[in-house]
Symmetry: C2
Subunit: 692 residues, 2 copies
């Protein structure tokens, strides 16, 4: 260890009555499993501890049934019956010498109580989330005493479940203690409202209660939002955010500080880069002698060391990087820094929780699959017949992961790619504004493949069906990706848009192609140049691409109108927490946004827009149109070869976008699945994963 | 039975190899429990059978893991491991002599496979639902053979689980067989595309497979959408909808026919009345000798008898009326027609499934609570001390249900209501356009209370704290409702809107008050008249009220602008399937709809609107403003008395909107819960329901 330049990261840290074995701290994060899938959850958390995280925390854990976050799946400590479930997690974490932390939550106005049908206590009588037309009950002083009892009892249950660190939660605008702090929400006239001293009272009481109840053996942590990034409208690092820290400075055993709300704390990489929270949280250590944990999507050990050495934080908090690479600490410890599978900040992990399904990760296809498929982020079953040669056609995210994982298993793998550059869509998209980190999906896999002597890579090698036959492989995996449609057909329009053949109609492929770049499916006439002047971007994809291209075009001097049939701009990006950032960016760039609008017709120099809300048509002058609609699988090769399984080929499988266009995370998963299932009998009809 | 005027409804009906004991047929309906809560589900279905439904069906039941509807909770028959779960339901249904039906579903493009991460087969490569940027894989002919095998095997598993009726599902635009039928989706060039004969081929094959596999002992049903209410753009009763029925006329053992999509099939009462599907489905019986089941939210036995006698259907299909009153058949059989708890068509039941939580019902607070709380729609535990006298203050939905259920338990109940009319908000809202059926919430309870000699009702009796003390009750329940705010504070605005004191600013209470009606919290100066001319309705409630008032005002000659801070009009009503109808209605009425817009300021004769998408302000001339924002609990009485528990009072409880404003279903539930828990020790912190 003494020679490790990052040795400081492996120093133990005292936290109240417990000691973290190192500075790697997995802060609480949701995962879509929660109380429902305790075995899956324990296995996932256990892998983090195995990978070297010194502290591994839960997700939000409901302390009482009046704080029911259904349909989201979070932790539960409603009563003693929940202790065994939670204990599975602490046991899995302790097995690897790490500490287990639990984030106790009373949601207040953030709970809809859809399952329990209970009334939630609120600071006042507030609207509950997601437009459900219901309000909380204003907690009077007697109710607050009741709440304190619930919180205290949950802390005792948490201790019984084996937790070492027990949180009070006042962050993300997701809990009653935080709403108490905020003057714009706290309208109370009793001793819990008015002055900041009063607004802090309830939080202080919860901390004191917890310390008194379990502080003898458990550390008591406070997770606090110190800045809401709302300027004067909210908490700020040099305003009340700072004052709160000063008031409570020595009370908790640990400060876990961040920015609010969740979309800022888990800032998407398109908008927020490594270490982005330092400027907001660096003041905290100056106000307390207690250890501080902060986050900032750290993946580079240099940045971590710097954050510690500069006194920004004592513990490197991490949610997303620990999801993308549960073995990040261990890789730093053993000098395998280049092997870190770096988080790309796409927030697909968050989308799973937001949708209400188990967590997944673009970079780490094993995330969430630890229990049900017995997948491990670092280990994979050895090949049954290591001499077996496999051809993987296509070096995008699916093909790269498949070739890498097959190589890791020990097979003789040949990977071919039509383009000179490997990476497929992630490599192309990484050149678009803000998406640089997408490249990490390819980079990590290429780094790993280089170390595998049994994997050979042939870029610039387009394969026809005849080429594949001649290559003589018995087992072939087709990962040839997809291309964007150029006729406007997609989710909203089932027939081609009249006039889509106009020469100034572009697809995302055209815009990504660049002058000297080969991209399948581009219009050679327009490749290498962008539309000019007034451009209409028609977004029937509803994720990031439409707004990214709008940004590209504004940067190139275009006047952009972003049209979408959905009622919201980039609707699906709300699940990845990108949407508020996208809306802000589009506004800043002066992009005209037209939701509830379809593209009825294109003619040279204009489009006809149809507003579906009011059933009105509008002519709209433009010099170019970009169609971001459906994609078409490049599955010709697969279809050509499919009939030859059992004759020319022993096995043939199509994966990734070539099978069905989907998000990048699915392509990586698909490639990994194909590698895991290679030589396995997967023709059975039953799912080949376990169910809880 | 011979004297029962509805005897025809109790005739047995042969369905292939099985016999339904009567004509009451609970068609498949979702419930938010599905595979996750098998005990809750079996208990709920069992109560329906107990209540006299001759056939009780499942919800959508996934035949394979590539048809994974997560995060929705539906049935599963993925493999043999799912049989025991499903068998719980068939056993519960058989225990009461009813038949059990299962709706086998392969979703195709309707499945996102968020849990299984599998690729779904589609008719073509289509976008999956809810704007998730992924597509299906086009099923080629080999894939279709695989799909048939999956469907057939699921049918065999269904038979093993004890089902008597096994469905093929081609309705609601939720399954691959339906997408196959539709020319606007089916773009295939093989023998499954093109002519209607070809597009019907797959459905025919599934039916033939199922008959061959299980038809010896099970009836094979086809659930088909015969009209999509899209005119020439979709299936119609006199176009292809009819042709499909003609082509397959004698193939299934049972025709279950309806209109599509779900928002039309489960048409909200505001837009669609009892029997609304008859005009679309009446042709079916003319084309087949097999029994036909149809739906139409039937709650009156006369309409049911008429539907049978006129040859519209053989079996009275029901989802919602069977939820509102599981004992509807039994009440008709025993001549207790006035006791039927009639569905109000609010679709809160559907919202639960759409949100992803267990089913609930406005009229029937026991729905979904059969297992976990041991509640029964007809029975309730007897009072411990029947001589105990209870005062219920407030005769809205919460107070009425509480008084009724306490009365049913045997307590001596006194119910007081300030207004001369009973019913509270349901009675007021029932006079608004389309909401007539809300009145059923009060009507049913008043009918029941009339039969209870131990419940006394005092309308026109406002109670002050002093009145309550003087009345001398030891146990008091406060159900005094809520009133709409008149300052604009709510979900979006935390401070009063400047200028809200303008005399032409109205609340929903003002508009509902009418000239001769007392309503708490109204502005006496405006009560009894409506605003005139140009009116801005500011909807920060996001449910039905904003659009209902817009409709009221257009009817009164106003020119209405509906403004909402949400990105969608009536956003929450999407979960109750009302939103598409609301948008259509607003469009028809010429209402200008402005989503993404807040009300920044009011001045006499104008408002300043702020568009949040583009951060732009607009002046907007108007003669009146209606604020539909938050509500304020009328909890003064409760707060006044709260300190006297243990002295003046033995117990005091606040329920319904007086505790926390919420939807009507929650008020009824709250009243029922208070009645069930009366005299119980509920001070414990743990939830007092069982968990699976």
């Amino acid at each position: 260890m003494s020679e490790n330049p990052y040795a400081i990261l492996f120093e133990p840290v005292q936290i109240g009555p417990v000691t973290a074995p190192n500075r790697f701290y997995q802060v609480p994060h949701c995962n879509g499993m929660g109380y429902r899938l305790p075995q899956s959850l324990a296995a996932m958390r256990g892998v983090k501890a195995e990978g070297g995280w010194g502290v591994v925390c839960t997700e939000e854990t409901e302390i009482h049934y009046t704080s029911d976050l259904s349909p989201s799946m979070e932790g539960r400590l409603w009563d003693d019956g929940d202790i065994p479930n939670m204990a599975r997690m602490t046991e899995a974490v302790h097995a690897h010498g790490a500490l287990a932390g639990v984030e106790l939550v009373y949601s207040g106005q953030h709970a809809r109580n859809f399952n329990t049908r209970a009334v939630a206590f609120g600071v006042d009588s507030f609207s509950v989330p997601e437009y459900f037309p219901a309000q909380t009950r204003m907690a009077d002083k007697e109710d607050l005493r009741t709440l304190r009892r619930w919180h205290r009892n949950a802390a005792i249950r948490a201790k019984q479940a084996g937790f070492d660190i027990i949180y009070t939660y006042a962050a993300h605008r997701l809990s009653l203690p935080m709403f108490m702090l905020l003057s714009r929400y706290n309208t109370r006239t009793d001793e819990y409202g008015g002055s900041l001293q009063n607004r802090v009272r309830f939080l202080r009481e919860l901390l004191e209660d917890t310390l008194e109840a379990v502080g003898d053996t458990c550390a008591v942590a406070l997770r606090l939002a110190v800045d809401e990034l709302l300027g004067e409208d909210g908490l700020t690092r040099d305003g009340e955010g700072k004052e709160i820290v000063a008031m409570l400075a020595e009370l908790p055993d640990l400060w876990d500080v961040n920015v609010s709300d969740w979309s800022n704390d888990s800032g998407p990489s398109r908008f927020m880069k490594e270490g982005y929270q330092e400027q907001y949280i660096s003041f905290v250590k100056g106000l307390t002698s207690k250890p501080v944990v902060g986050v900032g999507r750290y993946t580079s050990p240099e940045a971590m060391v710097s954050a510690v050495q500069q006194g920004v934080m004592d513990l490197i908090g991490s949610a997303r990087p620990s999801i993308a690479d549960p073995f990040l600490p261990e890789k730093i410890r053993t000098g395998q820094v280049e092997d870190i599978r770096e988080c790309i900040g796409c927030n697909i992990c968050a989308s799973a929780d937001n949708v209400g399904v188990p967590i997944r990760c673009t970079q780490n296809p094993t995330m969430g699959e630890e229990w049900r498929r017995s997948w491990h982020p670092e280990r994979i079953p050895a090949a049954k017949k290591a001499e077996k040669a496999v051809l993987v056609v296509g070096g995008g995210p699916a093909g790269l992961e498949c070739a890498r994982a097959l190589g890791q298993r020990g097979y003789q793998v040949t990977l071919t790619e039509a383009r000179r550059e490997l990476g497929g869509r992630v490599q192309l998209e990484a050149d678009l504004p803000g998406l640089q980190e997408w490249r990490r999906v390819a980079d990590w896999r290429l780094t790993q493949i280089e170390k595998l002597p049994n994997v050979e890579v042939y870029p610039g090698s387009e394969m026809t069906a005849e080429d594949v036959r001649e290559a003589g492989f018995e087992d072939v995996i087709v990962a040839t990706g997809a291309r964007w449609r150029r006729d406007g057909v997609g989710r909203s329009l089932r027939s081609p848009i009249p006039g889509h053949a106009w020469k100034e109609v572009y697809t995302p492929d055209d815009l990504m192609a660049g002058a000297d770049r080969e991209v399948a499916g581009v219009n050679r006439e327009v490749a290498g140049r962008l539309p000019q002047g007034r451009v209409v971007v028609f977004d029937d994809d509803h994720y990031y691409m439409g707004s990214v291209l709008a940004e590209l075009l504004v940067g190139a001097g275009c006047e952009v109108t972003l049209v979408t049939p959905a009622p919201q701009i980039a609707l699906w990006s709300q699940y990845t927490l990108e949407q508020p950032h996208i809306l802000r960016r589009m506004k800043q760039l002066g992009v005209t946004m037209l939701p509830n609008t379809t593209l009825a017709e294109i003619e040279p120099g204009a489009v006809r827009l149809h507003n579906t809300l009011h059933a009105k048509d509008t002519g709209w002058m433009c010099d170019g149109v970009v169609l971001v609609t459906n994609r078409i699988s490049n599955d010709g090769l697969y279809r050509d070869l499919r009939g030859e399984v059992g004759t020319t080929f022993n096995s043939l499988r199509v994966i990734g976008d070539a099978e069905a266009p989907n998000i990048i995370a699915q392509a990586v998963f698909s490639g990994h699945l194909a590698a895991q299932e290679f030589e396995e009998d997967v023709t059975g009809d039953a799912p080949n994963f376990r169910r809880e």
